[in-house]
């Protein structure tokens, strides 16, 4: 990552949850305050789809159908975030990625020279496995740039609406 005197690019990781949509509002606020470009990213979880086919829960045709559906979900979520940003005059680029979620997010952070990653509130880990293998947890832990985890609070909506 290149050295910068101030952040220029903020990335919002969207996975469709209410928490990530709220985080998107905060990311728009940050981009506006800091005069940054916003990058919205969604990852089609190919790894899990392939695992389901290997486990014979999916047939191959079904895997392809779900991949398409997840991609459509991603476009829908990112369009929503795009509208949030553009409504406040914030420039936004969006990326639909495919692969293992945390690895793809980290790859794009490095490729796009992202300065700050914004994500929704993390779920409380309910098991040891959850702690180590939850994709949001892994993204948070492995991110090469600073991460802001947006706590779900009504003030964020108010902040965005009054931006």
């Amino acid at each position: 990552m290149s050295f910068k005197m101030r952040p220029e690019k903020i990335m919002i990781f969207v996975e469709g949850s209410q928490e990530s949509i709220l985080a998107a509002q905060y990311a728009v606020c940050m981009a506006k305050w800091l005069d940054c470009t916003l990058v919205g990213a969604y990852v089609v979880d190919i790894k899990t789809l392939e695992e389901l086919t290997r486990a014979k829960i999916f047939v191959k045709m079904e895997e392809m159908d779900y991949e398409k559906s997840l991609e459509e979900d991603g476009h829908r979520y990112l369009n929503y975030v795009r509208n949030l940003a553009e409504a406040k005059g914030v420039f936004i680029e969006t990326e639909i990625l495919k692969g293992e979620i945390y690895k793809e997010i980290i790859r794009i952070i490095e490729q796009e020279d992202i300065d700050i990653l914004v994500m929704g509130e993390l779920e409380e880990p309910e098991s040891r496995r959850d702690f180590y293998y939850n994709e949001s947890e892994r993204t948070f832990r492995h991110s090469p740039c600073p991460v802001i985890v947006v706590k779900s609070r009504d003030e964020i909506k108010w902040m965005y609406e009054n931006l």
Binding site: T48, K56, V59, R129, D130
Partner: protein, 154 residues
């Protein structure tokens, strides 16, 4: 989505009546319908059967995961049926199926559906989990077994 977030004891039926695949799926659909989670039970049944006709969702080790996308649900819904004796579900290993996890998701909500299926797959790999769940005496006990297993596995 974890199975314990998807199910309640009311969505678990212990003692699925021995019958054929179609009847088992209908019994599971009825469990969901009884909770007011379906707008059209017949449509939901047809949507599960469309997937079932591509390839049986009767897997190995006594597990079956019938599922499908359906406009008859507003959100991801599921039910669990348990048969201690085991029922022929055209499983991949030719053995009787004991645990029937049925999932239905709206056509535009694939993410939670995929994650729920993945979590069921992880849980079902545990032989001790399967054994305990098959032996559950009632739906409340089965629900507790799922919650305990998720702490260690999912």
């Amino acid at each position: 989505m974890k199975l314990s977030q998807l199910l309640t004891p009311d969505l678990i039926k212990v003692g699925i009546i021995d019958s054929n695949k179609e009847d088992i799926i209908r019994q599971m659909i009825e469990v969901i319908d009884n909770q007011g989670l379906l707008t059209d039970a017949e449509q939901a049944y047809q949507d599960v059967m469309v997937r079932e006709l591509q390839q049986s969702t009767g897997l190995e080790s006594g597990i079956a995961i019938p599922h499908g996308k359906s406009s008859a649900v507003a959100q991801l819904v599921g039910a669990l049926g348990i048969s201690q004796d085991g029922i022929d579900f055209n499983s991949l290993d030719g053995q009787p199926s004991h645990l029937f996890f049925l999932l239905l998701a709206p056509p535009t909500m694939s993410g939670p559906h995929v994650r729920a299926l993945a979590n069921i797959a992880k849980l079902s790999q545990s032989a001790s989990f399967r054994k305990k769940l098959i032996s559950a005496g009632n739906s409340q006990e089965a629900f507790q077994i799922i919650m305990e297993a998720e702490k260690d596995i999912v």
